[in-house]
Symmetry: C2
Subunit: 365 residues, 2 copies
């Protein structure tokens, strides 16, 4: 039974747990767009398989696949990963999929945000996004979780990070972007985050990373390791394209307190070199008028921050960059109780995101 | 985890339970073919909704829907019915879906028969059936049941009825049809039914009903009410088109014994008038070269035998025929412990089947 609950999660005693809390499992989608992913999406699919395999060592993984790729995805993925038919326009479950909230009585419910392909007809990444919009309801049907209708706000999961104890960090660039919620003031957005996720304090960073197609998702910048502890991307090189944004965010966060009044402990993870497509690679991507055009002139974000905390593990991006090793060691220090699993994800980066963007946790009831 | 078990159900101690045994739930599909169903399949969809609603009073129902009809199906069906995306070429879950087997240790597994659209390129009902062939694997993924690969035999669920205690009834017309298993002898088929369903005795009727597009499925002729008891369609009118087939089947079954050596108690249910499409109705069906052409000259089967036993209920076809009332009363006598629920299903009949054809039970572990 999937009912739409005519109330708000906060009123009902539900909250969005931190990603570091226990999961029932992970939801993903299968990449197929030949105008997003080069070479018929085959290199990206291989990277997705490696991500899914790595997560499935720690918790159950379900991947939604469009019908014409069902057999192929089923054949590439190991049997312990569940493959179900879910059509989608692209494969970023963090943003296309639901956010889940839970209460203390063992109940989990889903939030059905409005999705507009990261900006709708005003600089969104593709058109249409009709199948994406049905992904959340389809996940609810399979998971049999009740649903909150949050169609009054455009929000992607990558735009927020929470500590599960009342604090949420986002960016003005994304949530206040005229291509998302032009009808909502900052205060309106805070009210909705409070109502839907049980948030007492919203921390607004100004911008996301340079070159972020999603208009500045916070999940490329910083995430909660646990309540009171943040992990931020970092560079000491003033010429690095992300230097200004990261230093600005860090400065702000050192001065902030969370919903419970705590100062943050902030861990820094050095960024690798940013990524670009070769001329040859860019020609392996279909050119269409209805989607973002990827060229060899673009710079694509590379950061270890876009990682995924799963039960007992952290699956982190690797880029065959000298910084990989440093990042792995820093993650080990931050998460002494979790296994750190690097996955080479350059092919996901050049599609516009990374491991966090393509996963969505369903919390343990 | 869905693994393909490299063995046979009989060896592993699994058997196909009788439909009258307890179910975990019911699987269905959603009708959309405009060359099978008149008026864009809308009248058929309404009938499917009524069938699903009736069954859902007794046990959970999951309906697989092609992506472009997901919203519409979700809107028409009550919330307690689970709607999941499963593409299919048509909507006969009995035949397209899996047969489930169980053991005494609480395990259920699925049989992945080969499906060829009731005859393949040799008088099959449509081409292609590529999406149908993936329905069983998709059901296994959602249900998370292990699978037996039965690709060595073409078999539809409507071609068999079992007592769960070693006896199976089928027709020569269907299972020995050259358009199904030309490579298998009668003995070969019996061996496979034994291996896959744990059958000790196969009773072969000669033919199914006249006008059966499926080449004589037994589920239009007779079914097990419980071990040792059969319910057969009947007419005393020698001019009724089904008179000969039913009298021949009855004569044979009165002489047969089941796998345990018991004679059958046989209940008769009088058939209603058979059905045809009006000229106007037949023009509401798309004409295509790749599917069976339904005209106002065709006679479509109407029988109460194509009903569905669910937990505590029997959902039976109704035709607004004077025989409806007699049938309901006879069902009440045969099943004093079950509620009898008639559903008006003329629109399913003119598509070529009825309630049994569009349902598939998943047994309780």
């Amino acid at each position: 039974m999937v009912s739409t609950i005519d109330s708000k999660p906060k009123i009902d005693g539900f909250r969005m747990p931190g990603e570091f809390e226990q999961h029932l499992g992970t939801w993903m989608l299968w990449p197929t767009r030949t105008d997003t992913w080069r070479s018929g999406a085959k290199p990206a699919q291989k990277a997705y398989v490696e991500v899914a395999k790595s997560i499935s060592r720690f918790e159950p993984v379900t991947i939604g696949v469009t019908s014409n790729q069902f057999e192929h995805a089923r054949a590439l993925l190991p049997k312990n990963i569940r493959v179900v038919e879910i059509s989608s326009n692209d494969a970023w479950m963090r943003d296309i999929g639901p956010t889940f909230v839970k209460n203390d009585k063992g109940e989990v419910r889903g939030i059905d945000w409005t999705f507009n392909a990261w900006g709708g007809l005003d600089e969104g990444l593709y058109f249409p996004w009709d199948q994406d919009s049905l992904v959340k309801p389809k996940v609810f049907e399979i998971a049999q979780t009740h649903r909150y209708d949050a169609s009054d706000i455009v929000l992607e999961g990558g735009a927020i990070t929470v500590d599960g104890e009342g604090t949420l960090i986002t960016t003005e660039q994304c949530l206040l972007n005229p291509n998302r919620n032009p009808h909502l003031s900052k205060l309106d957005v805070e009210k909705k985050l409070s109502d839907y996720l049980n948030i007492d304090k919203v921390i607004w960073l100004k911008d996301g990373l340079v070159g972020d197609e999603t208009d500045g998702h916070v999940d490329e910048v910083v995430f909660f390791a646990r309540p009171g502890e943040l992990v931020i991307g970092w560079t000491d090189d003033p010429n690095h394209p992300q230097y200004n944004v990261l230093h600005q965010a860090y400065e702000q966060l050192t001065k902030e307190t969370d919903a419970k009044g705590r100062k943050f402990k902030i861990h820094k993870i050095q960024l690798p070199e940013q990524i670009s497509l070769s001329e040859e690679e860019s020609q392996e991507i279909d050119v269409t008028a209805s989607s973002y055009n990827r060229s060899s002139d673009d710079t694509f974000i590379a950061t270890y921050i876009n990682c995924y905390l799963c039960n007992g593990g952290v699956v982190i991006p690797a880029f065959n960059d000298p910084h990989d090793e440093i990042a792995i060691n820093t993650f080990k220090e931050i998460f002494p109780d979790r296994e750190i699993v690097p996955v080479y994800t350059r092919e996901i980066s050049v599609g516009g995101g990374n491991i966090h963007c393509i996963t969505q946790q369903q919390p343990l009831p």
